[in-house]
Amino acid sequence: MTAEKSSNTIEISINTDVLVIGTGAAGAEAAEVISAQGYKVAVAGDGGQDIAQSGRAELIEGAHIRDFAGVAGDFRACFVKDGQRLERNFGAVVIAPGRNVRPQAEPFGLSLGERVITLGELEKILADGNARSKLGGAAVALLLNLTWEGDPQYTARVLEASLAIQQLEGATASIYAGNVKVAAPGLERKFTYVREQGVVCFKPMEKPSIEQTGDKIRITTLDSILRKTLVAEYDYLVVEEKAEPSDRDLDLAYSLRLDTDLEGFLPSNNVHRFPVNSNREGIYIAAPGLGANIALRIKELFGDGVKSVPADRAVVDPEKCTICLTCYRCCPHGAIFWQDGVAAISPLACQGCGICASECPMDAIQIGGFNDKDLRRQVREAVAATQKPAIVAFCCQNSALEAGRAAAEFGMDLPAGLKLIKVPCAGKVDVEFIMQAFVDGADGVMVAACHEGNCKAERGNLFARWRVNEIRKRLEALGIDKQRLLFTTFASNMAKGFAETAAQFAGSL
């Protein structure tokens, strides 16, 4: 699959077929725009006849992923379809997430029924001409984001439904909303428009109390704008449908080795990534309206099917590798696999964070631009050349390094003996480097990472913190003051904070 081009880049030929998992609206949209780019698309999932009819994509109907392996440009999916195994290769994968829906009547002590319905049920009634008439003249209350975080899509549905009610003869809609999520194109405008059309919107300061007596629903709420307790009666109450990650998505996250956010939704949050990217190169998460973004990312990844990549981003020495799988398990980007009895790293999927290199028990992995020999030499030089106290500061290039350099540029006071050593991610700071710095005579060592939740490599900062904590214990056991080793976090714009922390640290040594 790879051919050498020059000593530092290689050309990789990429499989440019795309697998879309999920036949819903987001999946269909992604399939449509990706195939319009000229790539072959297969959609797997239940239903999806419209996709098959469009002729834009192949439909692998009723197929569910059983096993999944490989890396960007060369994924191998094994499906089960009608009890048969089916193996296919793809260069990229798009997941259209599914959601489980949990009606939120119970948090108000209510149960669903004729008068207490979910948003989904309301939408069905509104869509059906006969059923719709029963809402004529009715007062309807809709709850929005009172029992869960919510999202713009849900807000849009509630606004749409309210408007439809408001337009029925004699009917009125009132919305009781927590935080209204409007971060989607045109949604803010829609919210204003809906209110102009007569939909009343309350913003309760605390959870409203709701009682049902016969056919009437009474809502008592303390409104945060009017600062008054308001009581109103309605004919119908539309409770929220709290979205939860579907079981299928949780399974997919596990078998495709994807991180989820705290609530279990794909993808995990990372400010350094585009919203459609997952933690793995070549795997994207679709949402309505984001198809074009995904198509763009895929085009960037595939190009015309041959890609030039740095050959030395992360390289395994097959002589040293004992195939312990530590690197495979630690790589936050799923870039590592094994082949011919040793670990192998995909130069396309690897992001060069260096976490694997620092975790490898055999020091078998070298990172381009940050090889161990160079870093060790830098540590030695830093310690030898500096004034006292000699401080070696390992700085993540995405945050602390920028902050430290800016502090120097702005002429802020930095300890004279402080030396910054650039690392691709704090996760690259090896136990050995820190120990070696002390052996070489450093008075203090600082490991400076990104803030928690802000690591470009997802959790390189966590690895760094765990290691520092472990080494501090070891230093203590050696009779060395553990305060001489500091773990700290910065954002790249924190020049002043960097200078203060460094000065404080130097003072304490």
């Binding site: 004992t322 398990r329 028990p361 020091d363 136990v431 120990m435 002390f438």
Partner: protein, 224 residues
């Protein structure tokens, strides 16, 4: 694999005190995989020794061989050995002893405690699975080892202490024989639980040797 844990530093330091030239020998197999004795642990331990004893107190060397339980790999250390007064071995107990056998005139100190035969649950997380009893009964116990998991290492169970899935010693300890019952019944071969496994011959707990089938002749020839 064999799972080991690094010894507390104080213990290692006490053993090597007084030896200036020490070669720390890692092993690239089980102990590397369980993150206790590969080349990284060797480098880290040496740094700890230098920090604690000072560069004048100790000057440690580093070498990691493929496997310390194979003499051919230990032979690679021969040219190095004469430069050192003592060895630290980061291998399992078997490797440590084989290293000591290779260099009988020099002290060999263990830097790890060999803990068990186990499996990898996640990076740095292991679980014991087998006690090397020498009479494996997994075939009739649904693939669950009663010697390891049962507090009494019963070959036939459960005993009267089984307690809603837990062992009588405490509720966090699963009852091995309860699990065996569950697994065999799920596989539709529960009747096998009635088969009596004869008591193990625990006199086999003296040092054992194994010759794999097909190698008997070769070894007989070697032994002359």
């Amino acid at each position: 694999m064999i799972v080991a844990e690094r010894k507390p530093f104080e213990e290692i330091k006490a053993m090597v005190s007084g030896y200036k030239k020490v070669l720390t020998v890692g092993c690239g197999t089980c102990v590397a995989v369980c993150l206790a004795g590969g080349s990284k642990e060797v480098a880290t331990l040496n740094a700890e020794l230098e920090l604690a004893l000072g560069k004048d107190g100790i000057s440690p060397g580093a070498a990691t061989v493929e496997r310390q339980c194979d003499m051919e790999f230990l032979a690679e250390l021969d040219p190095l050995a004469e430069q050192y007064d003592a060895f630290i071995s980061m291998a399992c107990g078997a490797g440590i002893q084989f290293l000591a056998e290779r260099f009988p005139d020099k002290p060999v100190f263990p830097a790890v405690n060999t803990s068990f035969i186990g499996v990898n649950l996640d990076v740095g997380w292991y679980e014991e699975k087998c006690r090397a009893c020498g009479t494996c009964v997994l075939g009739t116990t649904g693939g669950i080892c009663p010697v390891t998991m049962c507090a009494k290492s019963l070959f036939n169970g459960p005993c009267g202490g089984t307690n809603n899935g837990s062992c009588e010693i405490n509720t966090d300890q699963p009852c091995a024989w309860y699990r065996i019952h569950e697994r065999l019944s799920a596989q539709g071969r529960l009747e096998q639980i009635m088969e009596i496994s004869p008591a193990n011959d625990w006199s086999n707990q003296k040092p054992r040797k194994i010759i794999q089938p097909g190698y008997e002749e070769r070894i007989k020839a070697l032994q002359g």
